[in-house]
């Protein structure tokens, strides 16, 4: 069956040898591939061919991976369902008739359907974890600064990270090892060997450093959660669908049986995470997407009138409704008279969320919640009501605001066979803790 998961199917061969030799890794279409068009799911970039590779693509090629194609996505990453793509919506191979989640819906779909061994997505407010949850596969959102964003076409720089999607926790960890590490072309990356190897989270479980150094993630996928302390933020369960909550507690039972223990914790700041996220993300988007004026690349606005008129025409033609909506919302939030009311308050909320997480992670190795408060939506369900779609990001956006690592792993299905995902959140550079917790359910 055709899930419409690829925008472009064109093979890019990696080195002959390497740890990913013989395996395919599909790449989200907002990650630059030299000589292969990179559309961001937008008509604006339908013919855009990057002259250079993103750092993560260079690393895939060096590791011997074959890239089978570029995956479909919500336009510029703006969506939770992969229905806003200019190249049409993606089907969910794990639940026909339902959305695959977004915005990296194509990447999760090709992995779920077995068309690619693994895939890369990007996660600004849940865009790796949501489709992983909806398609019944594993997705990791790394700590901000662990993976280079060089060559990732920006939506909201302060929030996003590129992350792996794979059928198992171990394979996702392996792909993360390949793409992680500092990059002189992205000044927000850093050498995290020390932070990774010696994190507080692993200290609590009594399993401190590994001889291979900090960037060893695969060995953490050992399923050993004996003695692990799990915090459950009640705010992330309150609004969730009953069928999702049922699967969540069943998974926590399994972890308890394996020797973990849990306690509930309240994080009042989380009530404001979605609005803070949308103010910050749309504000950054309004600035980032100003570059699309139809002169250096993209759809030309022609030459009638002055440049303001020509640019406005190029953007009318090149951008879809959700992108226009977010660019306008961000422009509004940053405009004179509203900046203090929206943008500044959102930054306060962001700092508050960080503090709440830090405190909760002082008393737990990881925090657990349903990845998404709802099971996969029916196709078309959320398109006419953008606010409803934004609210579905309640459990994923706080993690981006706090720059923390998180993993989504499959945790059963609803009564009508729709996949449910469970999210573990760790302290900064606590990738090993979330990978270990996730592997106990895999």
């Amino acid at each position: 069956m055709d899930y419409n998961a690829y925008v472009t199917e064109e093979r890019i061969e990696g080195a002959e040898e390497g740890r990913l030799a013989g395996r395919t890794v599909a790449v989200k279409d907002n990650i630059s591939t030299a000589g292969v068009r990179t559309t961001c799911g937008s008509a604006m970039l339908a013919d855009y061919v990057p002259p250079y590779d993103a750092t993560v693509v260079e690393r895939l090629k060096e590791a011997g991976a074959t890239i089978p194609g570029k995956t479909n996505m919500d336009e510029f990453g703006m969506g939770t369902t992969t229905e806003t793509s200019a190249f049409g919506p993606v089907e969910n191979p794990a639940a026909e008739g339902y959305v695959p989640g977004g915005s990296s819906g194509g990447s999760a779909a090709v992995v779920a359907a077995g068309d690619a061994d693994m895939a890369l997505g990007s996660d600004t407010g849940g865009s790796v974890r949501c489709p992983a949850a909806f398609c019944g596969v594993v997705g990791i959102k790394p700590t901000y600064g662990l993976v280079s964003r060089y060559g990732l076409i920006a939506y909201a720089n302060s929030l996003e990270q590129i992350g792996p999607i794979a059928p198992t926790v171990e394979e996702a960890a392996e792909l993360l090892e390949v793409i992680a590490g500092p990059d002189e072309r992205d000044a927000t990356t850093r050498d995290a060997s020390e932070a990774l190897g010696d994190g507080e989270a692993t200290a609590i479980t009594g399993d401190v450093t590994d001889e291979d150094g900090g960037y060893d993630f695969v060995s953490a996928a050992d399923g050993d959660v004996d003695g692990m302390e799990i915090g459950v933020p009640t705010e992330l369960l309150d609004g969730a669908d009953d069928a999702v909550v049922e699967q969540f507690w069943a998974a926590i039972d399994d972890l308890e049986a394996a020797g973990a223990s849990y306690h509930e914790v309240t994080l009042p700041s989380l009530e404001h995470a979605v609005e803070a996220y949308y103010v910050i993300a749309t504000s950054e988007a309004s600035s980032n997407l100003a570059r699309f004026d139809g002169v250096r690349y993209g759809v030309s606005g022609g030459y009638d009138g002055d440049w303001n008129e020509a640019f406005a025409r190029a953007r009318e033609e090149g951008f879809g409704p959700e992108v226009k909506r977010r660019v306008l919302l961000g422009t509004f939030a940053l405009s004179a008279g509203y900046q203090d009311k929206y943008y500044k308050k959102a930054q306060d909320a962001r700092a508050w969320v960080k503090q709440d997480f830090d405190e909760a992670l002082g008393a737990a190795d990881v925090l657990a919640s349903p990845t998404m408060p709802v099971p996969p939506l029916e196709r078309g369900e959320s398109l006419d009501d953008p606010l409803q779609m934004y609210l579905a990001d309640a459990n994923t956006t706080p993690v981006n605001l706090a720059n923390l690592p998180a993993i989504s792993v499959p945790a059963g299905e609803t009564g009508d066979d729709r996949p449910v995902g469970l999210q573990f959140v760790g302290p900064a550079f606590g990738e090993r803790a979330v990978i270990r917790a996730g592997s106990a359910l895999g």
Binding site: P51, A276, R315, F332, Y342, K345, A349
Partner: protein
């Protein structure tokens, strides 16, 4: 949800700041949706002032030249070029 009046002229104004042309249908739709969404953003009023830790520090590096894109590569995606330059609309 608190009242956030948004009128069509505001939407047109923001669209012109953002350099995005909208047709009348889009203006109507966005006016309605923005009232909803901005009304929801109002709950940020309940957020207390938070002391933000300055966790970012400037990191300097020497300014060294390195290979970049060739002129040809830089121009390859432009809808229109002339004599090795980007061709844009007139300024005023």
């Amino acid at each position: 949800m608190s009242e956030t009046p948004v009128d069509p002229d505001q939407v047109r104004h923001v669209a012109s700041l953002a350099r995005v042309s909208l047709d009348e249908e889009e203006v109507t739709e966005f006016t309605e949706q923005f009232a909803d969404i901005l009304g929801y953003f109002e709950t940020l009023d309940e957020v207390p002032e938070v002391e933000r830790e300055p966790e970012l520090t400037n990191v300097m590096r020497p300014d060294e030249g390195r290979a970049g894109l060739s002129q040809e590569e830089a121009l390859q995606n432009a809808p229109d070029t002339e004599d090795g330059h980007f061709k844009g609309p007139r300024v005023s």
